[in-house]
């Protein structure tokens, strides 16, 4: 690999045949897809047969870092893990920070691709050039924290571990992959894919160098980036609260889901928000590798019955296990967070699935008998905690709930489907889009099913008007900055998606690049130039972003996804917000979708990229593949 910053190699692990091979990272892939989300999107489009069962050996699981991962760019600690999702049956991906991804690069690898299925449980041990599949006999069945400890006993305290917990082993469809104990690549069930491959963990010690292209200029750039990041007015509040004070902020704008997304305000929000956590439970802020914002929390609950200590929580978890379930007992929520981490569960889908069951129970659609005699009212925190155990081990009703709310409702029927808050099978996270229209579109359109983070259109959330003007131009103001207006949101979400996939391809965090919006394309281009020697302009980066989004879309339309799937539950598009600042609002989805498809150059009727569009993005081979499969047609001209 001629480019610096990269480790230059991709590990191919065939679990069935126990074959390990390190292949060079192709330069043209770096130029066209950067790394991370980009190379996963490209390689998995080619590697995954669309017909495969996501939990079969034929699915392919890929971990990838970006060229900036492990460098001194602020928050350059991220990796992506991707596969066909067992939760949605379409494109699946999850992301996490921590120290694991930099360690993988220091060991000399940008990415790992897992094929097949091991005949018995194994883990992968990487120590620079030594790469070995080892028996997971001692760790299979163990929790995340136990696994981390046992592997550190075996290989030394300084190793970095990514693993699955019992949830992944038991193929819970929203099982997470956990790294560095508390960091979660949580969404779309990547932990279940790992479990289906009989792969328990990846433990790494790396001691190689990450080189930079322009050592003379590098440190000056680093100093500039760091100053820019640290002097941002958002940074002190990130340090103090992490993401926890979003509870208070989202309550203020009526975007805090409560009671299974019935409403966007929660009367007891102050009991579960940033202030109470800062005062009573925060031990200290912890940072991921090269992270200047340190939004990671380390918290402790000192009293029974919810005594626990560890990483988190994030806003998403406080809402999913809290307001969403009508629960205001903060110690139960913190314990639930700890438990999800330790069991390897996505807190969002877990909380959302439980809150769906709670609503159905209160409406009499699911009986107490079906719930192992649990009195599953909103607010019952003991039941919530018990269900998390049951789900991870698929015990009793947990076996049903482990399928996710969408599948569970399909099995039960009786009108419970109406209360599933999902898109394409994945549960909607902690955003009531009736209070922020752009979020509604982003969730409906995202590649991995309901997902606020794919487009992450947070600029209109609390009014970054200056940045909106700089990034999109003044002609769209004021509507584009108005969270309750659907106008220009198709354009905005498209632009945000293109940028966010670039960020996920270079291996840095969305914090610092999107919220607060400190760094933009030109900074990333400069970072790639001095770090890697990649001569990619801002304009090229925009094209790469668009290419990746189109590739994810191609992956999905090959599986039958069309405009009709880019939908939201009726609760959000037909039922006016019942309370709070957004009272009376619905999500005007169709209007925004029309604009979005137009901006994308996709067919507005089907939501499919056109042959010409794909070809113009350098994806002619993909266009031909879709043509051959009869998924798209060439236009008449």
């Amino acid at each position: 690999m001629e480019y610096k910053g990269y480790a230059g190699k991709i590990l191919w692990i065939d679990l069935t045949r126990e074959k390990i091979e390190a292949k060079p990272f192709p330069e043209d892939l770096a130029e066209r897809y950067l790394g991370g989300a980009g190379i996963c999107s490209r390689m998995l489009y080619d590697l995954i047969d669309p017909r495969v069962d996501p939990l079969s050996p034929e699915n392919v699981l890929m971990f990838a870092t970006g060229p900036l991962t492990g460098t001194l760019f602020p928050q350059a600690c991220r990796y992506i893990v991707a596969a066909k999702s067992p939760l949605t049956g379409i494109w699946g991906e999850a992301h996490a920070g921590g120290h694991w991804a930099p360690e993988l690069k220091l060991a000399g690898y940008d990415a790992i691709i897992f094929l097949g299925r091991a005949s018995k449980p194994v883990y992968l041990w990487i120590e620079d050039d030594l790469v070995k599949l080892k028996s997971a006999e001692r760790i299979w069945g163990r929790t995340v924290l136990e696994t981390d400890e046992i592997l550190k006993e075996e290989h030394g305290e300084d190793i970095k571990v990514a693993c699955i917990g019992p949830a992944g082993e038991n193929l819970v469809r929203y099982a997470a992959i956990m790294n560095d104990r508390y960091r979660a690549a949580a969404r779309s069930g990547m932990g279940a894919v790992m479990g289906s491959k009989n792969l328990k963990a990846i433990a790494i010690r790396g001691s190689k160098d990450i080189e930079v292209a322009d050592p003379e200029a590098y440190m000056e750039h680093v100093k500039e980036w760091h100053e820019k990041m640290l002097s941002n007015p958002f940074t002190p509040s990130r340090v103090k609260y992490g993401t926890t004070n979003l509870i208070e902020l989202m309550q203020e704008i009526g975007r805090l889901p409560a009671y299974n997304l019935r409403q966007g305000v929660f009367e007891e929000y102050y009991k579960i928000g940033g202030e109470v956590i800062y005062r009573k439970y925060l031990v200290k802020p912890v940072a991921d590798f090269a992270c200047l914002q340190r939004c990671g929390r380390y918290t402790a609950v000192y009293n029974e019955p919810y005594r626990c200590m560890g990483g988190g929580p994030e806003y998403e978890t406080l809402c999913s296990l809290g307001s969403r379930c009508g629960i205001s007992n903060i110690e139960a929520i913190l314990y639930g967070n700890w438990l999800c981490n330790n069991l390897g569960l996505d807190t969002v889908s877990a909380g959302a699935t439980i809150s769906w069951a709670m609503e159905c129970y209160e409406l009499g659609l699911i009986s107490k008998d079906e719930l192992d005699a649990l009195d599953l009212r909103f607010g019952n925190h003991e039941a919530m905690i018990e269900l998390l155990h049951k789900i991870a081990y698929r015990k009793g009703v947990g076996d049903l709930l482990a399928e996710g709310s969408w599948r569970a409702a399909k099995k039960i029927g009786r009108g419970t489907e109406k209360y599933v808050m999902h898109v394409k099978g994945q549960e909607i996270a902690s955003q009531d889009p009736r209070a922020q229209k752009s979020m509604g579109l982003a969730i409906a359109i995202a590649a991995r099913g309901a997902d606020h983070a794919y487009g992450f259109p947070v600029l209109d959330e609390v009014g970054f008007e200056k940045e909106i003007r700089e990034r999109f131009g003044p002609q769209y103001l004021p509507e584009i900055a108005d969270r309750l207006s659907p106008k220009y949101k198709g354009f905005m979400v498209k632009e945000c998606e293109d940028y966010m996939v670039v960020i996920e391809s270079v291996g840095v965090c969305k914090y610092g690049t999107q919220i607060p919006p400190v760094f933009f394309y030109e900074d990333i281009a400069a970072a790639l130039r001095v770090t890697c020697g990649l001569k990619i302009s801002s304009k090229d980066l925009r094209l790469i972003g668009e290419r990746i989004v189109n590739l994810n879309r191609a992956f999905n339309i090959r599986l039958g996804i069309t405009r009709k799937d880019d939908s939201l539950p009726e609760r959000l598009t037909k039922v006016p917000e019942p309370a709070g600042p957004a009272k009376g609002h619905i999500v005007e989805l169709d209007q925004m979708l029309d604009e979005y498809y137009r901006c994308r150059g996709w067919d507005p009727k089907t939501g499919k990229p056109t042959y010409e569009k794909l070809a113009s993005l350098g994806l002619k081979d993909v266009a031909d593949d879709l043509l051959r499969r009869g998924v798209i047609r060439k236009s008449a001209s």
Binding site: G70, T71, L72, H99, L106, E157, D158, R181, G206, S207, K208, D209, I210, E211, V212, P215, Y218, M219, V222, K223, H226, M229, L230, V283, K284, P285, V286, A287, D288, F289, A290, C291, L292, R294, G296, Y298, A300, Y302, N303, E304, R307, M309, G310
Partner: protein
């Protein structure tokens, strides 16, 4: 004697100091080539380890070639011309603050250049003065505060 110190409950474990250090002396990014290292230990401890420039330094006494000396400012330095990489000093150092990084022949150690201090995003690094014993007391103090905060409120490590 001067050395780099950080309160383990203030340090967030981002390892920016280690990257800055490896870049300054090796022009690469690699925490395993840094003269300052961060040890993360449950619960919630991020401990920065850099040479303490001990008064009665075991590394100086251990060197068979007389390659390790203390400057007038109290900083222990290794004469790379004299050093043959035998590793005696590495064994002698009680903190592993002096070690031979991967791919190198001679040991490295912190010489208190301060490059990391300026780049610490938390501003928790500082140059401390004192003997090894004094530091031990500080670390012990931090540990006891941690116990006081956490353990006395009912938490016990399981």
């Amino acid at each position: 004697m001067p050395y780099i110190y950080a309160d383990p409950l203030r340090c967030t474990g981002c390892e920016v100091c280690a990257l800055v250090c490896s870049f300054r002396y090796f022009k690469v990014l690699n925490p395993k080539k840094a003269r300052i290292r961060v040890v993360r230990k449950e619960p919630a401890i991020d401990l920065v380890i850099a040479c303490r420039n001990c008064d009665d330094a075991p590394c100086i006494n251990s060197c068979p070639r007389g390659a390790i000396k203390k400057t007038s400012k109290g900083i222990i330095v290794i004469d790379e011309k004299k050093c043959d990489g035998c590793g005696k000093c590495v064994e002698a150092c009680p903190l592993d603050a002096l070690y031979i990084p991967p791919g190198e022949k001679t040991p490295i150690k912190c010489i208190v250049c301060g490059a990391c201090i300026e780049m610490c995003p938390v501003n928790c690094l500082k140059i401390a003065y004192g003997s090894e014993e004094a530091l031990a007391k500080r670390v012990d103090y931090a540990r006891r505060i941690m116990e006081k905060i956490l353990m006395s409120r009912g938490y016990k490590a399981s």
